[in-house]
Each structure stands twice: as structure tokens, then as C-alpha cells.
């Protein structure tokens, strides 16, 4: 009876539109343009194995924060999307021996972890961008941080892993942002 009225087709149409809107694929997010540079990413063994350990397993829980081990593969996988091309190496090339426009060298400045009801992990990561001749073009220190509850004796290990993962991901996100907006690299890419 209602559908005989003029409003009915309009209502049905409106409902269909709402559903279509809900099911429509999300609009593509704007991808920032790549820096038109050929880059070398230097991931040294010292960097990739940077970690802190604490606790004796008796009076204090044994804890390990393998920051380098987790950060290295993430940087190697994610950073190429910021540059026209990227090579990976495990040591800084000698002066004028690479054809890369920029050599990116990350270094772990410090790793700090608190104990407490709410634990905090801080990863201080220092980025240096060198030119082919080994001169610094840009230097930036970022701080990856994460907070996580300590949990209890049974869940503590899980929370430590979550804390480490979150701090590493934060360091990665801040690194990407810093590199993307580095004036020295933007100028070189022009």
C-alpha cells in the first residue's frame, strides 16, 4: 500500500544508495610521490643485532627487546617505496665507489625500557644521509616509543613482545615520515 505512493521508489532508491555507499571500495589514499633518487640503505650487523636484555629469571623476569632484529627487515621492505630505486648493503661504501645519489645510514642511539604497571620502550634512531663523497646531507634523530601494560607473571612475555613490536613500528613510521620530508633529500631529488 505504501509503495504505491510517490515516496516509495524514492525511499527504496535512497536505501540502495546507502548500501552501495557502504559497499563501495574506499577511495584510494593519496600515495606520496617517490623521491627521484637512487639510494643505498646501509644495514650493518651491529644495527641489525641491537637489543637490550635485562632480568635474571629469578628475582626479576628475563626480558629481551630485539629492536634491530625486527627493525632491519621492516626497513629493507618498506623504504624502497620512498625512492626511485634502492640497494641494500651491510657497510658504508668507500667515497665515490657507489653510483647511488644518497647513502642512508641508520644507527641505534639508545634503547630504554621502563618497568612498571605501564611499561614504556623508547628506541632512539639516528638517520644520516650521505652523498657519494661521504659528506652528510641530512641528519635526523627520531624516537620510536610504545606503551604497554606489564601484565602478570603469565602474560608478561606476551606484553613485552607487543611493546617491542609497537616501538619498532613507531620508529619505522617516524623514519619514513622524516625521510619523506627531509629538506636535504627533497632538494637533491629536484
Amino acid at each position: 500500500m505504501y509503495c504505491r505512493s510517490v515516496l516509495c521508489p524514492n525511499l527504496v532508491g535512497l536505501i540502495l544508495l546507502v548500501f552501495a555507499g557502504m559497499r563501495a571500495p574506499a577511495t584510494a589514499q593519496s600515495v606520496p610521490p617517490k623521491l627521484n633518487l637512487k639510494a643505498d640503505l646501509v644495514l650493518t650487523t651491529a644495527f641489525c643485532s641491537a637489543e637490550i636484555k635485562r632480568g635474571n629469571g629469578w628475582t626479576t623476569a628475563k626480558e629481551r627487546f630485539p629492536v634491530g632484529e625486527q627493525l632491519c627487515p621492516l626497513l629493507a621492505a618498506d623504504l624502497p617505496s620512498l625512492f626511485a630505486s634502492m640497494e641494500k648493503s651491510d657497510k658504508v661504501p668507500a667515497q665515490n665507489t657507489t653510483d647511488a645519489d644518497v647513502i642512508l645510514v641508520p644507527k641505534i642511539g639508545d634503547i630504554g625500557a621502563t618497568m612498571g604497571r605501564k611499561q614504556e620502550l623508547v628506541v632512539v634512531l639516528e638517520w644520516t644521509a650521505l652523498d657519494r663523497a661521504g659528506r652528510p646531507l641530512w641528519v635526523q634523530t627520531i624516537e620510536g616509543t610504545a606503551h604497554e601494560k606489564a601484565g602478570n607473571g603469565f602474560s608478561h612475555g606476551k606484553h613485552i613482545r607487543l611493546l617491542n613490536d609497537a616501538a619498532v613500528r613507531d620508529a619505522l613510521a617516524k623514519s619514513e615520515e622524516a625521510i619523506r620530508s627531509a629538506p636535504g633529500l627533497l632538494k637533491l631529488a629536484q
Binding site: 626479576t60 630504554g112 621502563t114 639516528e126 644520516t128 659528506r135 606489564a150 602478570n152 607473571g153
Partner: protein
């Protein structure tokens, strides 16, 4: 006895690691030129301020760093040049006595509380639950002090025009008191794209 052991195991399983969190205020910074003896070269101004007062160290760091053999020195760097950028590398900030370089970093605080660890051991042996809670508090506090020291440290950066960088450098005090009188800090920066360093030297 068996009951007590089970109670202890249950308590340790659900024990929050600590009950209190420390809070450290930010060190108030001024414009670089407002520090006594500030130096300006090529548009770059550097000012330093040693924090020798133990009460102030306790306030901002939660520990008397001088007792541990370190002097925190607050460093402020401002790029007032119209178009030049400079690079500050943390390892290029050093302290000297005569021509000899002194170590500046090193572990200022370990993040470990010996007292807390010993007390925890003693409490575990004597099955003192209250003792364990107190020991946890001391151990957690030590980690928070270290975290604060890390967060307040001067960091490497690029100083674009009108940018500022600031933070503490933890100077290892020479054991010889005669040497301390001649201690000076050198802040070295490099103009982007050059190898030429610019040095700023201060008595501290």
C-alpha cells in the same frame, strides 16, 4: 607452609610490576643568545648551561648525577642564518682538558637498582610479599630515571634556517679535581654540503 608457597606463587603471578610512576619536569630552555657566554658564528648561536646543583639534578633527573661522576650540560643551538643549513652530530660534541678529549657519554645511569635487586632477593628468600612490592618500586624507579636521561639527551639533527635543537650532554667528570678547572666543551657543526667544521668552545 605449602599454603603459603601457593599464595606466594599466585601473588607473584598477578603482581603489578610497580605501583608508582616517576614524573620528571622538562628543563626550561631559553633562546640560545640568552645564555651567558653564548657564541654566534655564521648565523648559528650556541649557548650552554652546566647543571651543577645537586638539588636541580635531583629535580630534573631524579638522581644526583655529579655523585655518579657526570655533569649534565644543557646545550641550545639556534640557526639564525637566512639560508644555510647545518648538521650537528651528537658525537661531535666533546669535552677537552688541554688538547686531550674526555669521554662525554657512557652509561650515565644503568637503569638498575642494586638495592632493589638485593631487597627483592632477600624478600623472596624470606617470603615477604610487602618487601617484594617495595623492591619492585625501587627497580622500576631506576628504569624510569634512565629513560628520562635518554629522553633529555642532545640528539643529532639538521638545523635548517630558524630551527633550534637542545638537550643535555652528560659530561664525564675527570677524577682529578685539578683537571676539572680546565674542562671545556666543544660543539662542532658542519655546514651542509661541506667538510668545513665550525667549532664553538665553552669553559664548563
Amino acid at each position: 607452609m605449602r599454603r603459603l608457597e601457593w599464595l606466594l606463587i599466585l601473588f607473584m603471578a598477578f603482581l603489578p610490576k610497580v605501583l608508582f610512576a616517576a614524573d620528571f619536569p622538562e628543563y626550561p630552555a631559553k633562546a640560545a643568545k640568552e645564555y651567558s657566554g653564548a657564541i654566534t658564528i655564521a648565523g648559528l648561536t650556541v649557548g650552554v648551561e652546566p647543571l651543577a646543583d645537586p638539588a636541580a639534578q635531583k629535580r630534573y633527573f631524579g638522581a644526583n648525577l655529579s655523585e655518579k661522576g657526570f655533569l649534565p650540560v644543557f646545550v641550545v643551538i639556534e640557526n639564525g642564518s637566512p639560508g644555510e643549513s647545518f648538521i650537528l652530530m651528537r658525537e661531535d660534541v666533546g669535552t677537552y682538558v688541554g688538547g686531550e678529549q674526555e669521554p662525554t657519554s657512557g652509561e650515565v645511569v644503568s637503569g638498575r637498582s642494586r638495592f632493589g635487586e638485593d631487597y627483592m632477593l632477600l624478600s623472596a628468600i624470606t617470603l615477604s610479599i610487602g618487601g617484594m612490592a617495595i623492591a619492585s618500586h625501587f627497580m622500576a624507579k631506576a628504569t624510569q630515571v634512565r629513560q628520562n636521561v635518554i629522553k633529555k639527551e642532545l640528539r643529532s639533527s639538521t638545523l635548517s634556517p630558524s630551527q633550534m635543537n637542545r638537550g643535555f650532554v652528560y659530561v664525564a667528570l675527570p677524577p682529578d679535581p685539578a683537571k676539572r678547572r680546565y674542562l671545556r666543551m666543544r660543539v662542532r657543526v658542519t655546514k651542509v654540503g661541506t667538510d668545513q667544521p665550525i667549532d664553538f668552545e665553552f669553559p664548563i
